[in-house]
């Protein structure tokens, strides 16, 4: 540790005010705080002081993502070898290694492009490097199909960081979750590479022989192609990090225990999805539905929670402290509506089998409105209680 510390101490004179490389000072600070806790404290106003800063909060979220990442890598290999029919003859490490080599470039591109843009903006605008991208950079690869071309990942990341975040003023100011902005951008810009049957299994772009739809895509056309245990453990086709409900729940425990993710949002989102699943079940027998729709309406309500990106969105996306609701009752409303909308969109509109993305983005938009009315409601309630010398105020 002393060695690293010496590097920062030795380079410090060069980036001080007036020195030659002053324009690089935010890079210096950024890397320094990555290794060491800041000694500087706020000079004015009221502040809550804690040893945990934004960088360490974000680090904890990335740590919570690790099970999903590892499981995603394994599943990438698993789906590939299953599709080419060599699953039985391939060892565990070979499968994992294949997935690792497929997923790692996507992660590197996402971080490289995103952090590069953050650095440039920090230099131009003269502020500190903001750490928000540490999480977004990991979330972006996890919500992409494994066969997405790397340049598309780069374009989407650039779009998400510049249009989704920097135009609003950077970390903490964005309206929408940047990782979902990246996914939504790709979903509408390059639909052929983001949905369908040719993108979910590594190697399917190269040969016509391998095609595989996600369980949700199948269900939308009236075919049930998964078992509940596969969907729970994550051995179904899907975006890299979203398939394994188990791995995501391990991350959820970490987020709740450390107090970083809001358990209210997680719980209410899951409740919303379950309620909507039950409502759809009630209509499953209706004769006005098409045959495919009758199958999709009838799947047990809790299957919606383990299929597709529902759980990933509920745990890691909806709980984003910047774009989500801030008030306690606001969080309940916000999460519940995400759950309801996600299941509604995915079942009723077959063009969008993954409703979670759209549901979260929509509720991100409404989160400030929800908060506004919650706060107004509190003010009204208290005004009713308050009396000034016998009269109501």
């Amino acid at each position: 540790m002393n060695f690293i510390k010496n590097i920062f101490e030795n380079t410090k004179p060069y980036v001080q005010k007036g020195a030659k490389y002053h324009w690089l000072h935010s890079v210096h600070d950024g890397f320094f705080t990555l290794f060491f806790v800041q000694k500087n404290t706020s000079k004015s106003g009221t502040h809550i002081h804690d040893y945990i800063d934004l960088k360490r909060t974000m680090g904890m979220v990335v740590l919570a993502l690790v099970p999903a990442i590892l499981m995603g890598m394994y599943n990438t290999g698993y789906q590939h070898f299953k599709a080419i029919g060599e699953l039985a003859s391939t060892g565990f490490f070979e499968i994992f290694l294949f997935g690792l080599l497929k997923v790692l470039p996507i992660i590197i591109v996402s971080y490289g492009v995103g952090l590069g843009i953050e650095f440039v903006f920090a230099q131009i605008r003269g502020h500190e490097i903001q750490e928000g991208f540490l999480v977004s950079g990991m979330l972006i690869p996890l919500v992409m199909p494994v066969e997405t071309p790397l340049w598309m990942i780069a374009v989407a990341t650039a779009f998400a960081v510049v249009i989704g975040k920097e135009v609003f003023g950077g970390t903490g100011m964005n309206i929408w979750n940047p990782a979902l902005v990246a996914r939504a951008f790709l979903f509408f810009a390059y639909p052929a590479q983001m949905s369908g049957i040719k993108v979910w299994v590594a190697g399917s772009q190269a040969t016509d022989a391998i095609t595989c739809a996600t369980p949700l895509g199948d269900a939308a056309s009236g075919v049930i192609s998964y078992t509940a245990s596969d969907a729970f453990f994550g051995l179904v086709p899907g975006s890299i990090g979203e398939t394994s409900t188990l791995a995501i729940l391990i991350g959820a425990v970490l987020l709740i225990v450390t107090g970083i993710g809001s358990w209210r949002i997680m719980l209410s989102t899951i409740a919303g999805g379950a309620v909507m699943g039950l409502i759809l079940n009630a209509f499953a027998g209706s004769a006005s539905l098409s045959e495919a729709n009758q199958v999709f309406f009838a799947i047990p309500f809790w299957h919606h929670l383990i299929l597709g990106g529902f759980m990933f969105g509920a745990i890691f996306m909806a709980t984003d402290p910047v774009s989500g609701s801030q008030t306690v009752s606001g969080k309940w409303i916000y999460g519940f509506l995400i759950g309801i909308l996600a299941v509604l969109i995915r079942v009723v509109n077959p063009a969008y089998p993954e409703g979670m993305m759209l549901a979260i983005l929509l509720m991100n938009t409404f989160a400030p409105l929800i908060d506004h009315y919650v706060v107004q409601g509190h003010i009204k309630k208290r005004l009713k209680r308050a009396t000034v010398s016998g009269r109501t105020a």
């Binding site: 071309p149 340049w151 598309m152 374009v155 509408f188 390059y190």
Partner: protein, 214 residues
């Protein structure tokens, strides 16, 4: 009338709308048509020319009539002038560039309600002489055209891989032909036009800091 036709003041009427008082990026007028017709360059150019012509001549006519129009009915008089000019433009487009006219569909007719035109008539033509009004109309039309052409260029290039209908990106690049490239479908959709206009506004304001409102 001692002032020369192209005095410094008059030239400013032509050049200001191209930059510091651009009708789209600064006055934020005429956004609707700017988003609707810019998916390709050709309709964007035809639309720009049409708006410029209508704007210039409506300005001149209103300016000639400015001392005789009763104040209380000036809006309806302006509308009659604009509508007649738009009908003329529409007929000419139908006669000479029928396919583009079909592509532009209702948006030619909607030039009548384009806020730039009403805005310039109210703000300029009612209080200035015909020649100045004519220059102001040409200038504002050109300011509108510049933005439409920039937006149209990027939307067509990135969204369809072509410029003015000519394929620019080689066919062999496309994924369907074994390459790596795909057109950005979102550039064709109106939201991306809004974002493109937003980026132009961003670039313009960071170059010209006087335009930034507090």
């Amino acid at each position: 009338m001692s002032e020369p036709l192209f005095s410094k003041k008059n030239l400013k009427l032509l050049s200001d709308p191209l930059n510091s008082s651009n009708p789209i990026t600064v006055q934020v007028l005429g956004i609707c048509s700017a988003l609707a017709v810019t998916a390709q360059l050709k309709p964007a150019v035809v639309m720009s020319i049409s708006v410029t012509i209508v704007l210039a001549f409506a300005n001149v006519i209103i300016s000639l009539l400015r001392n005789t129009i009763p104040n209380r009915i000036r809006i309806i008089v302006q509308l009659v002038v604009i509508a007649s000019l738009v009908i003329l433009v529409d007929q000419i487009l139908k006669a000479y560039v029928y396919d583009v006219s079909k592509q532009l569909s209702v948006f030619v007719g909607l030039i009548i309600t384009n806020c730039i035109i009403m805005g310039r008539l109210e703000a300029f033509a009612l209080g200035n002489r015909p020649w100045q009004s004519f220059l102001d109309g040409i200038g504002n039309g050109a300011g509108y055209a510049v933005i439409l052409i920039i937006v149209g260029f990027f939307r067509e290039l990135l969204g369809s891989g072509s410029v003015f209908g000519f394929q620019v990106i080689p066919d062999s690049w496309y994924i369907t032909n074994g390459g790596f490239y795909a057109n950005n479908g979102m550039m064709i959709l109106p939201p991306m036009a809004l974002i493109t206009v937003g980026i132009i506004i961003w670039v313009q304001r960071s170059r010209n800091r006087k335009l930034i409102e507090n």
